[in-house]
């Protein structure tokens, strides 16, 4: 059965009128509009974003590198490690007691591992006998055995703890 269609032969069905817009528009209008709106809406450009991103990453890396270099110069990493090692190696028989002898021994062995941070070369120049005689030495009174005895007697040994 055929369906009734009042617009069967209408222009909208037989496409007798092309679907085109006939309005006049200024040349380059759409390009100009897009550009105008991009400025007005402050559309972030990807190139700026990536440039900022690279700069930010670079700044972070430089900061980290600077912090590491500073850390190396300010702190001796070996020192910290050795000290903790030494302390952990100390045998504590009584948890309440730290024996002075053991502690001193551990410190001595610890200082053996120390490395001088910097080396200096001192140039020694030969000095003549006349130059030595010309040096004015401070006058020091002779110290007698009595002076030494007086000094030790005056000292208050109660202030010292062994």
């Amino acid at each position: 059965m055929e369906t009734f269609n009042p617009h069967k032969d209408s222009f909208e069905n037989n496409n007798s009128i092309p679907k085109q817009n006939n309005f006049k528009i200024p040349e380059g209008y759409f390009d100009e509009l897009a550009s105008r709106l991009e400025d007005q809406l402050e559309i972030k450009k990807d190139s700026d974003k990536s440039k900022n991103g690279v700069l930010r990453v670079l700044m972070i890396n430089i900061s980290i590198a600077a912090a590491v270099v500073l850390g190396v110069f300010l702190f001796n990493p070996e020192k910290g490690t050795k000290l903790s090692d030494q302390i952990s190696k100390m045998e504590i028989e009584d948890p309440e007691t730290i024996y002075v002898e053991d502690y001193l021994i551990s410190m001595v062995s610890y200082t053996e591992d120390w490395q001088p941070l910097e080396y200096y070369e001192i140039e020694l120049l030969p000095v003549s006998e006349e130059e030595v005689l010309e040096i004015e030495m401070p006058v020091v009174d002779e110290v007698t055995s009595g002076d030494l005895t007086d000094f030790f007697e005056e000292e208050d040994y109660d202030d010292y703890e062994l």
Binding site: H7, F23, L33, A34, L41
Partner: protein, 179 residues
């Protein structure tokens, strides 16, 4: 195809790739929205104002777009609302329109039909029908949208839209035949 482009626009936008999102949005919609508005307002200057407001609203509204409707129906709805709001504020559009000033006819001619002439007749006929009917006609005839989609855009029932469209077609045909 259209939905894929819409998804791509939203993807770019949500990823923060604003320039690509904006470029794709403009390439896809600025001309379509322009014709939709121009069909009602006729004047290029008025259309330019409304189109600009429409695109700004679309761009600023994108972060809040939840995807409850299709992106293109949402875009056409904003354009339609902006157009009718402009019409409400500016009643001057009922005045005389100079066809030569606004139109440029370049229809192809055959042995039987002068393309340019028939285009001119159609545009004249369209000017005789009310703006809302003209909007329905534009979305159906020129944009080839479904009634359900036009219903979403204009907030009118499908039945009312069908009636409106057939009424518009009838009036246009009568105008072409009689004039």
């Amino acid at each position: 195809m259209s939905e894929q482009v819409d998804d791509q626009i939203l993807k770019y936008f949500r990823e923060g790739n604003q320039q690509e999102a904006f470029k794709l949005l403009m390439n896809t919609y600025q001309q379509r929205i322009y014709w939709q508005i121009r069909r009602i307002l006729i004047s290029h200057e008025d259309t330019d104002d409304v189109l600009q407001n429409t695109l700004i609203k679309i761009w600023k509204g994108l972060p809040a777009f939840k995807g409850d409707s299709k992106l293109f129906t949402w875009i056409f709805r904003i354009a339609s609302n902006e157009t009718f709001t402009f019409l409400e504020k500016n009643k001057k559009h009922s005045g005389h329109i100079d066809l030569d000033e606004c139109y440029q006819f370049s229809g192809t001619s055959s042995d039987h039909i002068d393309g340019s002439f028939i285009q001119q007749k159609l545009e004249q006929a369209l000017l005789q029908i009310p703006e809302k009917q003209r909007m329905v006609f534009h979305l159906k005839y020129y944009e080839d949208l479904k009634y359900t989609e036009i219903s979403e855009i204009l907030g009118t029932s499908v039945g009312a839209l069908k009636a409106n469209y057939h009424l518009a077609v009838k009036k246009i045909e009568e105008f072409i035949k009689t004039d």
